[in-house]
Point group: C2
Chain length 408, copies 2
Amino acid sequence: MELLNTVTVEEAKNKIREAFGGFSLKQENISILDAVGRYLAKDIIVPIDVPGFDRSTVDGYAVISKDTFGASESVPGFLKYKDQIEMGKKADVTVRTGNCYYVPTGGMLPEGCDSVVMIEYTEVLGNDICIQRPVAPGENVLKKGEDLKRGDIIFKKGHKLRPQDIGMLAGIGTINIDVYEKLRVSIISTGDELVSPTEDLKLGQIKDMNTYSLSAASIEDGCNVIERTIVKDHRDLLKNKIEECVKNSHIVLISGGSSMGNKDFTKDVINDIGSPGVFIHGVSVKPGKPTIVGKIGTTALFGLPGQPVSALVIYKIFVSFLINNIYYNEEVINQYIEGEISVNIPSAPGREHYVMVNIREEIDKTVIEPVYGKSGMLSMMAKARGYVKIKTNQEGLIKGEKVRVFLF
Amino acid sequence: MELLNTVTVEEAKNKIREAFGGFSLKQENISILDAVGRYLAKDIIVPIDVPGFDRSTVDGYAVISKDTFGASESVPGFLKYKDQIEMGKKADVTVRTGNCYYVPTGGMLPEGCDSVVMIEYTEVLGNDICIQRPVAPGENVLKKGEDLKRGDIIFKKGHKLRPQDIGMLAGIGTINIDVYEKLRVSIISTGDELVSPTEDLKLGQIKDMNTYSLSAASIEDGCNVIERTIVKDHRDLLKNKIEECVKNSHIVLISGGSSMGNKDFTKDVINDIGSPGVFIHGVSVKPGKPTIVGKIGTTALFGLPGQPVSALVIYKIFVSFLINNIYYNEEVINQYIEGEISVNIPSAPGREHYVMVNIREEIDKTVIEPVYGKSGMLSMMAKARGYVKIKTNQEGLIKGEKVRVFLF
């Protein structure tokens, strides 16, 4: 048997980054209402000062701070109450020494004042307001442009939009934005044993899962799945289908057929179709060693394992990585759950090892338990809440060791 | 001023759970291709055995294990090679003592054999296969139904579907499933100062953000936003709008107007419209103390702070909690990033305190830095990557203390 010329996970990522740097994406202009999860194609520049006027941050009285100096509960100051500022209206008056105006939180400050005394530290006495605490200049005031200045950049190109960002964009009046087009992904499952989930099984056959799980994962990553199809283990059929997909797709995922068996055509077929062809075949990772990564023209091609759990693990490690890279999104931070591993888990050093696990909360600790199963068991995928990564230079995990689970 | 009768966050959650237990939701039957993020309305019962036949988990030779006992590299065993089993085809032959058949990974085992010798431990010698290692009965075999048995429950009612679950459902041939209808949410922003983001600002006015950020957050939580609207601070206008929304919505969110000021009508208006009315007004939490929770008929109503950061924090704490509760989803585990807080952060005990933070990776540690800003600053929301929770009984955080950041 020919041997795979494996690279480490880090080496593979570097090669992928190099191969697809400067990926050219179209842009589209969309409403912010449809923009959660999309990636900005341009920096967002603030078009207005926020706030657009000096504003009170509390309910209270707009004053000249000097007028309050020395005030206390026992020796309060007195200011003449003039009027109240209406919320949402221009404050068309001026505060003069000895006077004050009521301002609600968020209300506009009148001319002349420099601070606001919170209503909690005042009392109304006829036409006067009794001030029980001094304020410093600027206290309880948000100055025009203090929050955001016209011309500031609030979000950079590549930023993946979150719900709060949509609110921010509304707040600066930017309701249509330029985002990158969704990446077009085609997904091919190969194997003579595969039939569509709607078909009845004959002995020896199984129902295709990978076009479904990989499609759902790609959509979650902000892509558009334009093709999902099963191809029998036949070189020409596979070649024709990949060739067709390459024409319309940014990314082509091919599950199955990436090993070294006599029906594993994926590598040769990719190299036949165009250049530069396959540049990774074999990664030091478990599961997923026979992973293939190639490029034809500008299209990225991945040969993923046929085994559904492995296919999805490799998707997470490399395909999600490429997608973020293409979108120039440099902010990816993976959250995790920390806990103690419940048993020893041996692992051969020299490769990264992904272990499917479950999480159990005990009174004083979080216990992480591996999900056991034979190779190829689908139920592991349903049972596992996430995975633990054993690094290349680690020989395994010791029972009780702290580990991080990434939800799946 | 009237004082709020505050409850703790935990008390509030218990009250919400009680008030909306047994929420009645319609079900709908949808394709698994549209089902990521939806909640199952019924347990999923496996309709077929998986695998449907005894299957090899490796590329190798199907044998009777007894025939391999004693085999080693120096003293190999020899078995007559009969034929190969085709992938995806019924294995219509029988292994007899002294014989073997080639089986690919996932291929069906012939009658008579009980194990598979991996190809790595064999050699071809003319018509014979030379066996260099013994196998135990059952080795490298996945028995019929060993992965999933017909009648097993793989996903429970309330489970929120992930990409891999879609693959699983395809694998058992269940391509249409019953999920709960999407919750219908109406969102009202109140305030005389608010204008639509598309309108030009006059002095004193600001652009509405909350209908946008709360809408995006609700959609992310699997809801359908049926109404987004701004209402001026006018009691009858607010009453009419809430009354209208209650008729069609499972959840009504009202931001602004939940404090105790003279234009904070939300509580009274809810109590006017119907019963049981408001059952929480005031939660010991910062930000978000004046939070309101009420019920009219079966509809849940939330009075959220007008300040956008606070509104979203309270949304996350209580509205997301209710949504998961309504869907019977008991699996919620929040992931986090752990790091060291960069400064002392004082906090008044007796309330939960949510601090907006950023994350900075240093060589040997993750540093968590609070995002500073005056009350009401929108830019804090754009700048923060997540939040740290200071518990009710904590007096604050000490510089260098380990904290958990929940991404936002």
